[in-house]
Amino acid sequence: MSTAVAGTAVAGAGDLGRKLARANRAKQVTAFALLAPALLLMLLAFVWPIGALLTNAVHAPEFRDAVPKLAAWMEGWDGEALPDEAGFALVAEEFGRAFRDRSLPRASTRLNYERGGMRSLAMKTGRGAPRLAAPYRESLVALDPAWGDIATWRAIANASTWLTPRFVLQALDLQRVPGGGIQAVPPENRVYLDRLQVTFTISIVVTLVCAAIGYPMAYVMAMAGPNRGRLLFLLVLLPFWISLLVRTAAWVVLLQKEGIVNGALLALGIIDEPQQLIFNRFGVYVAMVHILLPFLVLPLYSVMKSIPRDHVRAAASLGATPASAFVTVYFPQTVPGLGAGCLLVFILSIGFYITPALVGGSRDQMLSSLIAENALGTANWGLASALALVLLCCVAVVYPVFGRYAGAKNLRLG
């Protein structure tokens, strides 16, 4: 009897367990169905494009696609001496064909990244190919002596691969040494590392200045009574809501040579002649701090507001002076908020583009400007993608720290 009861109970429990599992599965299916539209959108318009962009940094098949036979043949070349007649014959045949089917211009752009002047050489060769005849070595060198130069062939060999380290190397101011190996470019030719350094310098200075001004602001807001605190909160929130472009425009108007700040300083007799306040580093710092300050103050304020005031009072009752109570009791509790704010400001400033473009000089342009310039200006997609890869790596290093210390929970949006 008792066994029978126990048996039913077990069977019932198994049944219940199955039902529970089924209900849980149904809930999970519902959750995924709710997430599906957003995930689909993210996949199509964010994840896939970013993935393709990063692939672009190392994937450059234009040349190989245009002259496949030559590219395959180049894989067997040792790179030590000029190729034999077969290589020259393939150049004549493939360049001529690529010129006729119009794939040569794109391929020669790719060649030109490997070695300056290769674009015109390739186009000239393609155009002149019908008039070339065996022996091809002699007739190609006669067409252009560059065909007798081993550097030309090395450039073709480098361009013949599907994948190329060239853009990533270029973005880090590195170059390939003929015959293998990698070295830094001479300091006078450094471009991209300098931009990276400028990007980090600006981001660090902006973060520190924001922390120095923002901490007292958040502290005063947290200590004020509810009504005054709310008012101060709105004072910080309002600029946060005003378009970045409008705020940048305000600084352009204020800081220009004939602008309000120069006018006021002249009228007060502090300066004798208008100072250059904009289109230099100073202008970038001022405008960026103004735009990013709310991102530091708001998370810090929300942390400070959650700290019970009794803690500092308890410290005072134990004989701590306000300064020592602040240092030993209050400040340590605000560190998560300060960290969240600083990391947020830092991450956002690393990617700044519009503000430096409008209020900075040419020496204050950050990595983002370089990406936009290479993409929109010279259409060097490979290099733009490689620079994007470098910038994304910088963010990827900082973001997990941000996630650990702050997370989205300290990020109140208003």
Partner: protein, 275 residues
């Protein structure tokens, strides 16, 4: 019992004074530039400096003239509206999905939905440009709306998730126990109670689209030029008070939106604290 007044040495007094002084400077620094520039939009002359040469509405007339700002404003509003609808619907559903139950990969999906906020916008813009180009979505309304939606979804997810955190699920169970099918319970209980969060998410989505310059720089053809896109050109070209008049107009919109958000927050807090 009055709390004992702690001893305040010179260091405390100087420290306290310094904190208040820096904070005061900070608050002035936040607002003064915007306030200082605004009156210039009424300048009778065409200089952007004081003293004003008479007062006039001419720059506002220039902004509200048929060209070039009105078509740009129309583009901004339509692109913003489409983005708002798309981002609010997908983002709200996603936030419900994230808070509905536990499932594997939940944290990763949450992080993915937030990630467009931290990826530098130039990278997103370039990536979308290259990916959309083969499909004819560059220089198109659709392409711009899709890219803006990607940027706006994180804001909707964050605001709606925050509202759902404070949402008492026993009320949905109560509705179910009274015989309401899930969809009815959702429409009559969950939706009204989370509406303020959804609406503020929608405002954030609109602002994200309305303020964007970088994506528009990559994806907008002259037909889709938005207000910020045109303003970016104007700031690089030449400055005249019409830019400031436009800025004043945009600031007015910002104040209106901020007031909306404040109202929604107040309403959400009241809904939540109701016994």
């Amino acid at each position: 019992m009055a709390s004992p007044r702690p001893y305040r040495g010179p260091a405390d007094r100087i420290g306290g004074g310094l904190v208040r002084a820096v904070a005061a400077l900070g608050f002035v620094f936040m607002l003064a530039p915007i306030l200082a520039v605004m009156p210039l939009s009424f300048n009778g002359g065409s200089y952007l400096s004081y003293p004003l040469q008479g007062v006039s509405w001419q720059w506002y007339a220039a902004v509200f003239a048929a060209r070039p700002w009105m078509p740009a404003l129309w583009n901004s509003v339509t692109i913003g509206a489409a983005t708002t609808v798309l981002a609010t619907v997908t983002g709200t559903l996603a936030a419900y999905g994230l808070s509905y139950t536990e499932f594997p990969g939940k944290r990763a999906i949450g992080a993915l939905l937030i990630s467009p906020m931290v990826v530098p916008i130039v990278i997103t813009a370039l990536a979308v440009y290259l990916a959309f180009a083969p499909f004819g979505l560059v220089n198109s309304f659709t392409g711009l709306v899709l890219a803006h939606t990607v940027l706006a979804v994180p804001f909707v997810v964050i605001t709606v998730t925050a509202t759902l955190h404070g949402f008492d699920r026993t009320m949905v169970r109560a509705a179910a126990s009274l015989g309401a099918p899930p969809l009815v319970a959702f429409a009559t209980v969950t939706l009204p109670l989370t509406a303020p969060g959804i609406l503020s998410g929608a405002v954030f989505a609109f602002v994200t689209s309305f303020d964007d310059v970088v994506v528009a720089l990559f994806l907008a053809g002259p037909e889709q030029f938005t207000v910020p896109r045109r303003m970016f050109n104007a700031l690089r070209d030449k400055l005249d008070p019409s830019i400031v008049a436009l800025a004043v107009f945009l600031v007015t919109i910002s104040i209106f939106l901020l007031a909306t958000i404040e109202l929604l927050r107040w309403r959400s807090e009241r809904l939540r604290s109701r016994p």
